[in-house]
């Protein structure tokens, strides 16, 4: 494949990238840190249904759900970036797909771990093949494999093409995994009635979690752009 232009016009040049990184270091990350701290404080003080152990562990839900939704957003980003790469053949799409895949794996691992901790308290078992656990595990595996595949291909152009094809197939697989996992007998709490204060706590947690996920994707992306620039010999 020689369709890929070796010096694509990147949407981000070095000066911009440096300024953006500085702005993130000064404003974005401290803000995310403050909001996370506020979130932790609120979670410690929000009233639960009753103060038994399950109810205490129940609070992990405020992290679990926002992270799960952000995982899905990261997977969607991989899908969009993969389509973008195959249709435009610009390397920055591939960098974006890689950044999002990495964050999807990280967030997916957090979803699995928080879910397992909660399951241990609620069901007295670390793992059970309930539909949603199965779904989260397979979703996580799909994107771990994408990173493994990327790591084992040396040619940059081939890696981009193959990982874009895989990114599309993997995302199309997600609804099928979800539907087929639903065939397994359910034991996950389907819906959970929440007090307004609990809803607000959950809404509060969405902000820092989404900021951290977006910030991580952006940082990985900027790093990959800089590596690309170095590899291209300082020219773009």
């Amino acid at each position: 494949m020689t369709l890929i232009s070796s010096n694509p016009p990147a949407p981000l040049d070095s000066a911009d990238s440096g300024a953006l990184a500085r702005a993130m270091a000064v404003l974005y990350w401290p803000l995310a840190a403050v909001l996370t701290t506020v979130g932790v404080f609120v979670v410690c003080h929000v009233p639960g249904p009753n103060e038994d152990q399950v109810s205490l562990v129940q609070r992990i839900y405020y992290v679990h759900l926002p992270v799960a939704i952000n995982t899905f957003a990261a997977c969607l980003t991989v899908f969009i970036a993969s389509i973008g790469f195959l249709s435009h053949r610009r390397m920055w799409w591939d960098d974006l797909a890689e950044a999002a895949a990495r964050v999807a794996v990280l967030l997916g691992a957090i979803v699995l771990l928080t879910g397992m901790i909660w399951g241990r308290a609620a069901w007295n078992t670390w793992w059970t093949w309930s539909p949603r656990l199965t779904f989260s595990l397979i979703l996580w595996l799909l994107y771990v494999v994408q990173l493994m595949v990327r790591a084992s291909i040396e040619s940059r152009e081939r890696r981009a093409v193959i990982s874009a094809v895989y990114g599309i197939i993997a995302f199309l697989d997600v609804p099928l995994v979800y539907l087929s996992a639903k065939l397994i007998e359910e034991m996950h709490p389907a819906s959970y009635t929440m007090e307004p204060v609990q809803k607000w706590t959950l809404a509060l947690w969405f902000v820092p979690v989404t900021m951290i996920a977006g910030g991580l994707i952006s940082m990985r992306y900027q790093l990959a752009r800089r590596i690309s620039a170095k590899l291209a010999g300082g020219t773009r």
Binding site: L142, V149, D173, L179, L183, I184
Partner: protein
């Protein structure tokens, strides 16, 4: 349309003729599949092995046997620049995909015809309730599995990567097939219920989605 079908037939015929003359793949894959069934039967022991483990055990055998078949059918294009010749042929890349898919399906059918009776026999799985349901479910699953496997075998083959990678790429993608077909078979054979329309729809949707998408993206993954 007729010309396309003829081209697909020619390409698949070429692969199957090579296999019929060299007999490199089938014997190996069938023995491997039967070995997997035996190892799982022994590992589970007489208590666990009797009953409804057969679909799961058969799936393990199909997955590994399938990956070997897909690898071999694509690997024959690696010798003597055959892939360059194939790419220079005046046919659509999608036709090459369909040809490879057809030869893979023929190989899988041959393998399944040996492994399935072995699994059913060793695990005492009673097919008499709905033999055609069993055949249809396994057939639909095989089509979806081969659709994804054929695409990724071209990916792996073109990058000269080691064998384990194909299994790593195909297994997670094929898991919806495994879950829905085993759940469907358990409901029909263990619980004596009617065929679950939803599970069947997932199998058909999987086949349709990945046949179309693989046909579309196949040209990007091929490389001489």
């Amino acid at each position: 349309m007729i010309a396309t079908l003829r081209q697909i037939g020619l390409l698949a015929g070429k692969d199957l003729r090579i296999e019929a003359r060299s007999r490199q793949t089938l014997g190996l894959v069938i023995i491997l599949g039967v070995l997997i069934v035996i190892v799982l039967g022994l590992g589970l022991g007489p208590q666990q092995a009797a009953g409804f483990g057969a679909p799961a055990v058969l799936w393990v055998a199909y997955l590994f046997a399938g990956v070997l078949c897909f690898e071999k059918t694509m690997a024959i294009e690696r010798h003597d620049g055959a892939m360059a010749g194939l790419l220079l042929a005046p046919v659509d890349r999608g036709v090459i995909y369909a040809g490879k898919l057809l030869s893979n399906l023929a190989l899988m059918l041959a393998v399944a015809l040996v492994i399935t009776p072995a699994g059913i026999l060793f695990f005492g799985f009673d097919l008499s309730a709905a033999p055609w349901t069993f055949a249809c479910v396994i057939g639909l699953s095989m089509i979806g599995f081969a659709a994804v496997g054929t695409l990724f075998s071209a990916v792996v083959s073109s990058t000269r990567l080691q064998g384990g990678l194909l299994a790593m790429m195909v297994f997670p993608i094929a898991l919806p097939l495994v879950i829905s077909s085993t759940q469907l078979l358990l409901r029909v054979f263990r619980d004596g219920k009617a065929v679950d329309g939803e599970a069947l729809a997932i199998l058909i949707a999987f086949d349709a989605i990945f046949l179309v998408v693989s046909w579309l993206v196949f040209e990007w993954v091929l490389e001489p």
